[in-house]
Symmetry: C2
Subunit: 125 residues, 2 copies
DNA sequence: CAGCATCCGCAAGGATACTG
DNA sequence: CAGTATCCTTGCGGATGCTG
């Protein structure tokens, strides 16, 4: 998307109205196919890199690392590397990240209801 | 992503465990940057095409139409075209779509909290 | 084990012009 | 007004090989 700093529209009285949008804020942080799934797995507790990878067999290593970094930069999780051989790296949700459980849980509940309504199977991660 | 029908991992007892994931189900329906934002705008009631467009100045027409179609195919909204000139088309959430308000509201609430925590402005749609 | 570097194909998405 | 159609670019994301 072309980066636009400001954007405007008009209300019925032809006054300029900035369209503010909390959902856009969320999508900028956890948008994309994989991020909510990563968060979903970390909600049950800190996990090692290999554990997350095993839990998400469909994601490539490149994408997993990339998204973990972005989530770290956005302060949703922290990365802790123990200085041992072989490496031992764990990822843990921050307070911000943990609070996303309300979003993830709402997603899960809706999913179960909708899958039942449409009589479909739950997909693999 | 390469399409893989089945995928497996193992638990501590070396039993095969399928990783099922409700979040993946949700992301398959409302993943991508724009869909949750479209839903957000429709939660306040049915809207004409032009109203949605005006509310989302950053999305291109092509993307908007494309995502509206996909949401319609996924039974999250319905499209109703009045046979008049000029055309009058309204988009309305289905029952499934309306039930996503729990997800969208959880997103919004988290956004407000996180924006306050990080002292940032609310972005434009 | 937990990554990083590089190459590269392809599809998502932008820009533009046209229409019932 | 509410879209289609077409072209074209960008960058997502896969594949592969290497490393502290």
């Amino acid at each position: 998307m072309t980066k636009i700093k400001e954007s405007s529209t008009y209300n019925a009285n032809r006054e300029i109205v900035l369209q503010e949008c909390p959902v856009t804020y969320v999508m900028n942080k956890i948008g994309g196919h994989w991020k909510p799934i990563i968060l979903y797995h970390l909600l049950s507790g800190s996990k090692r890199y290999s554990e997350i990878k095993r839990a998400m067999p469909h994601i490539s290593e490149k994408m997993l690392i990339q998204h973990l970094k972005q989530l770290e930069n956005d302060n949703l999780l922290t990365r802790e590397a123990k200085p041992v051989v072989p490496p031992y790296v764990t990822y843990t949700l921050t307070e911000s990240g943990k609070e996303l459980d309300s979003v993830i849980k709402a997603m899960s509940m809706w999913a179960f209801k909708d899958m039942k309504r449409n009589r479909v199977e739950e997909p693999v991660c």
